[in-house]
């Protein structure tokens, strides 16, 4: 039963993730006054890459990298329940709490680093260096905000955190929300923190050496992971959801905000983005933490 539940969650996240990415491309196109690709374009791309042949070989770690990333994404997904209450679409969430999810969030970048490191492509290595250093800067404000929310709710269970919000955490603790949002924009790979796969600058960054089925796997994992992160944010700050309509509308609004923000700004340099993340959101998060503990 729990496996069937997780499989359903996987299928929904897969479809929704690709739909969001397609909408992302379409909406960005409209921002740039273009017609834009069809909504399912990202899905077409990934299926096409599954049908291509692979001609590259860089040892077994190169092949394991995308698989570690994929398993990281799926595990993150099944440890986050879709809804604040109820018995369906909970996956494995009662066996693990927010701490497990925070650990699993870094499994993807780790697998990426291992796989790309084995390939030895200079642009890939450059992307990985940027990705890991940005990750450290991104985690600090995010963890402060999440741990504050955890201690304020008095629980590390995601469903409990989302269902005990009387006013939304985003409104009750705006500073924590803002700090977490800065990190979240970085986690979603959006400007101004999109230094990892920076187009033109480092080609495709970490994905430079991957082709065919491995690239398709990377695209699928990024779709699933994106949806999992959106659901996590909705649970922590936006009061969770009780049905698919609420879940999809909340995640989509959040996604829309992130891509609108990303379309407005240019790209920071790597040191700039790390400096910014370590200074501004971290200070905001610490102030938010002090104010929240003061008032409670």
């Amino acid at each position: 039963m729990i496996l069937l539940d997780s499989l359903l969650m996987f299928i929904i996240a897969y479809g929704t993730g690709f739909l969001y990415y397609g909408l992302y491309r379409n909406i960005t196109a409209r921002f740039q006054r273009r017609y834009g690709p069809p909504v399912w374009q990202s899905f077409f791309d990934s299926i096409k890459f599954f049908t291509k042949e692979d001609s590259t070989s860089h040892g077994w770690m190169f092949y394991l990298g995308p698989i570690i990333m994929m398993s990281g994404a799926i595990m993150t997904l099944i440890f986050i329940p879709f809804f604040s209450s109820g018995e369906s679409f909970v996956g494995f969430s009662k066996y693990g709490n927010l701490f497990v999810v925070l650990y699993l969030l870094v499994l993807g970048p780790l697998g990426n680093a291992l796989g790309v490191g084995a390939a030895g492509n200079p642009f890939g290595a450059m992307g990985i260096t940027r990705g890991l250093s940005r990750l450290f800067a991104m985690e600090l404000p995010f963890y402060i905000a999440v741990i504050a929310i955890m201690s304020l709710s008095g629980s590390s269970d995601i469903a409990t955190i989302s269902s005990t919000q009387t006013t939304l955490n985003a409104i009750a603790y705006p500073l924590l929300f803002i700090a977490a949002m800065f990190s979240f924009i970085g986690m979603m790979g959006q400007a101004p923190f999109d230094v990892v796969g920076a187009p033109v600058e480092v080609y495709s960054g970490p994905a430079t050496e991957f082709s065919g089925k491995f690239l398709a796997l990377l695209m699928s994992q990024s779709a699933i992971f994106t949806f999992a992160k959106l659901v996590l944010m909705v649970h922590l700050f936006l009061g969770g959801a009780d049905g698919f309509v609420e879940l999809l509308s909340k995640t989509f609004l959040l996604f829309l905000f992130v891509i609108a923000f990303g379309s407005m700004y240019g790209r920071f340099k790597t040191p700039q983005s790390i400096d910014f993340l370590l200074k501004v959101p971290t200070v905001i998060a610490v102030v938010g933490l002090i104010l929240a503990t003061w008032s409670s």
């Binding site: 491309r25 196109a29 740039q32 006054r33 273009r34 017609y35 834009g36 690709p37 069809p38 374009q41 077409f44 791309d45 299926i47 096409k48 890459f49 049908t51 291509k52 042949e53 692979d54 001609s55 590259t56 642009f123 187009p199 033109v200 080609y203 495709s204 994905a207 430079t208 050496e209 991957f210 082709s211 065919g212 690239l215």
Partner: protein, 205 residues
């Protein structure tokens, strides 16, 4: 409502869907996805490269047909040989082409790739691209406008959809022929050297 731009879009997409195929359903589905998603290697060889930016950006927006740029040969489906190509460029083109994963397609722009064009008597450009690489589609003109490039892409997409675009198989089957022609102009060592002191070797600067 179907006027102007939307009418154009509808016509282009209608062109894509109008094939009458005789393939089995798995091949049909695979070719359908390949047709709807084309990654083009962002690599310009000659003057025609200047026509590619408008094709892919807001003015002509090739992405509405599923055509977008790819940064690396590993992820690309189509390489555009945009105009004349000198021997030095040919080395890079061959290497890039061989790095791409199957199925892969070649789109040749301009008269220079057909017969040498205005470089017909040049001492360091190749005249017929077809002798060195298999070409799926020629778009002629000097230079072809972005509209013609889009037209060429749609023709390639139609061929992919019908399962007819198979130049990569042709390259594998007739590899000896292509290699002989490549060696005739580039010498024994066709690929450019990427040694640590590469500037000392031939194929370097």
């Amino acid at each position: 409502m179907n006027t102007g731009f939307l009418q154009e879009q509808k016509t282009l997409e209608g062109d894509l869907n109008s094939e009458n195929s005789h393939q089995n359903s798995v091949d049909f589905l695979m070719n359908w996805f390949r047709k709807r998603s084309i990654f083009v290697l962002a690599y310009g060889t000659g003057c025609g490269a200047i026509e590619m930016p408008p094709t892919f950006t807001s003015r002509y927006d090739a992405e509405r047909l599923g055509i977008r740029g790819a940064a690396t040969p590993r992820q690309a489906d189509v390489i555009i040989v945009s105009g004349y190509c000198s021997y030095k460029t040919l080395r890079r083109i061959i290497r890039t082409y061989e790095q791409m994963s199957n199925p892969k397609y070649v789109l040749a722009l301009g008269s220079c790739t057909v017969n040498g064009g205005m470089y017909w008597d040049s001492y360091n450009t190749i005249k017929k691209l077809e002798d060195y690489l298999p070409v799926d589609m020629y778009v002629n003109g000097c230079m072809p406008r972005p509209e013609s490039i889009l037209e060429g892409f749609i023709e390639i997409q139609k061929e992919i959809g019908e399962g007819k675009a198979s130049s990569w198989q042709k390259y594998e089957e007739n590899y000896k022929f292509y290699r002989k022609n490549q060696e005739a102009v580039l010498g024994e060592k066709v690929e450019p050297s990427y040694e640590a002191d590469w500037y000392l070797y031939d194929g370097g600067l």
